[in-house]
């Protein structure tokens, strides 16, 4: 520590960080309570569901959501990197080709250690694709601009949607609990400006006509939102993974695979155990889905909250945390798929006794 303070560069960096922290603290939502708040903006309206990019559904009630767009961006990024890396394959690899080769060789090694050399080649493409897609989506979601810039949805539309949703769920709509933001100007693209911590209005206040003249109330529908913060994405991945696992199980063991779940050979206990196995297979889809969705959604909320409380530097350690979580979740999803595939293709030892 003493050596760190003796180094003038480190000392300058540390001082700058401290100053930024103080500015952030004073300018954020915390400082707003004491007359600061010049940097902060109100807490983003956190939506569990993915939001449509267009106000009206495009074709037959189907609308493109921001998470679909992000998934496509992730796909485009991966395709571009793959194309650039493998465009001119050479025996002595360049940097990008070397990186891709190292990643693929490493993951092929993992697949071989889990599933054995023969099956590894079979499972590898799905295993690798799940990892790359989840990782890219998670890491893209950390970039600035995600969840903060979007189209403006007027208050009337927003309240209307909420009323419909509450009615569909059989709940009472509470206008006092529904918060919206207050914006200036008429731009179709909206974002939360500096020093707007107090620019919040509830639906109740809006309907009473408390909105100031020349301003408009509404919410931001972000253009970009991390793909895995929409439960549809992890669910789609989990379904594909489990369908493939059972397809591999069936093609490797035939009816023996079905016999794991409909076991008539060992009497009622066998049948019961088989049914339990079946239930656990189904629960895997759910655990797959909610593990990934929960981690990434929570990470997103954490980043929003920290940016709200301490702008500028409050976010920084949690960005590192989110990088780590994003990687770990991608790895876990891919690894579990691989392990389930490996176990599904091995027949139960008891069948042969």
């Amino acid at each position: 520590m003493g050596r760190l303070l003796a180094n003038p560069k480190a000392l300058t960096a540390l001082a700058a960080l401290a100053i930024l922290f103080v500015i952030g603290l004073a300018g954020g939502a915390l400082g707003n309570e004491f007359g600061g708040g010049f940097l902060g903006s109100p807490l983003t309206i956190i939506e569990l569901k993915a939001e449509p990019l267009t106000a009206k559904p495009l074709i037959g009630g189907f609308s493109i959501t921001n998470t679909m767009l992000t998934a496509w961006i992730a796909i485009a990024v991966l395709a571009l990197v793959s194309y650039l890396g493998t465009r001119r394959m050479t025996e002595v690899p360049g940097r990008l080709q070397g990186l891709l080769e190292a990643v693929i060789e490493g993951f092929l090694g993992i697949a071989e250690s889990v599933a054995g050399p023969g099956k590894a080649r079979r499972f590898f493409p799905l295993f690798m694709t799940i990892f790359l897609f989840v990782l890219t989506s998670n890491w893209l979601g950390i970039l600035p601009g995600f969840g903060t810039i979007g189209r403006f949805e007027p208050a009337s539309d927003f309240i209307h949607h909420k009323e419909d949703a509450a009615e569909a769920a059989g709940k009472r709509f509470d206008p006092a609990a529904l918060k919206m933001h207050v914006f200036e100007g008429e731009s179709a693209i909206a974002y939360l400006p500096f020093g707007s911590v107090d620019a919040v209005i509830t639906a109740e206040e809006y309907e009473r006509g408390e909105l100031e003249e020349g301003k408009r109330a509404g919410v931001i529908i972000p253009f970009l939102r991390s793909a895995n913060t929409d439960i549809n994405t992890p669910l789609a991945l989990a379904l594909i993974a489990m369908v493939m696992v059972h397809y591999w199980g069936l093609s490797a063991l035939g009816l023996g695979h079905v016999g794991k779940f409909l076991n008539f050979k060992q009497g009622p206990i066998g049948l019961f155990v088989g049914l339990l196995e079946g239930v656990s297979e189904l629960s895997r889809v759910i655990s797959f889905t909610f593990r990934l969705f929960g981690n990434i959604f929570a990470g997103e909320v954490l980043l929003i909250a920290m940016a709200f409380l301490i702008p500028l530097v409050g976010l920084v350690p949690f960005l590192g945390l989110e990088l780590f979580v994003g990687f770990i979740q991608a790895f876990i999803f891919a690894m579990l798929t691989l392990v389930f595939a490996a176990t599904a293709t091995i027949s139960h030892g008891g069948d042969h006794h």
């Binding site: 569990l48 569901k49 993915a50 189907f62 959501t65 998470t67 679909m68 998934a71 496509w72 992730a74 796909i75 991966l78 395709a79 793959s82 194309y83 890396g85 493998t86 394959m89 025996e91 690899p93 080709q97 891709l100 080769e101 693929i104 060789e105 092929l108 080649r121 590898f124 493409p125 799905l126 690798m128 694709t129 790359l132 897609f133 949703a165 569909a168 769920a169 793909a227 929409d230 439960i231 549809n232 994405t233 669910l235 789609a236 991945l237 379904l239 594909i240």
Partner: protein
């Protein structure tokens, strides 16, 4: 389901997106990279095998060379031994030949000496006979003529013991 935002189009869209990504990555990434990795590992294996072969061949040729060297050495030794033997025999032969020659020469010389001596003894005897005659002439000058005398002495000498081959 609805509260969480699970929608059929949402799931369907993401499934399709994922399958597209799967296809794209399979064609653009996994296939070329795995092919390259396989090719490289095959090449390395070939290289290692070639090196192993070269090493074995080198060892073999080295053993071969050593064997040839040993053969050559042994052959050289044998040749030297043979040459020495030939030289020895030649020397013995020459020595024996020289010895016999020397012996022959000596024998010839001895024979010569013997002959000379015999001749000398013969001469001496004749001389001695002459002297004896002249001595006897002086003693009995008038009693006998010289011719009768000589015959008498010749007869005497022939009958005398130790005459003939000149050796005692």
């Amino acid at each position: 389901m609805e509260a969480l935002g699970i929608t059929i189009p949402g799931v369907f869209s993401q499934v399709v997106s994922f399958l597209i990504l799967f296809g794209v990555l399979y064609a653009l990434l996994y296939k070329p990279v795995l092919r390259m990795l396989d090719r490289r590992s095959a090449k390395i294996r070939e290289g290692l095998e070639a090196a192993e072969n070269a090493r074995r061949e080198a060892a073999e040729s080295r053993a071969d060379m050593e064997r040839q060297l040993d053969d050559a050495r042994a052959e050289g030794q044998a040749m030297i031994a043979q040459a020495r033997e030939v030289a020895d025999r030649f020397r013995e032969e020459e020595l024996a030949k020289a010895k016999t020659e020397i012996d022959a020469q000596r024998e010839r010389a001895e024979a010569d000496i013997q002959r000379e001596r015999d001749a000398a003894i013969q001469d001496l005897r004749q001389e001695f006979a002459g002297l004896a005659i002249s001595a006897a002439e002086k003693v009995a000058r008038r009693s006998m003529d010289e011719e009768a005398h000589r015959e008498l002495i010749e007869e005497f000498l022939r009958e005398a013991p130790g005459s003939g081959n000149g050796r005692r």
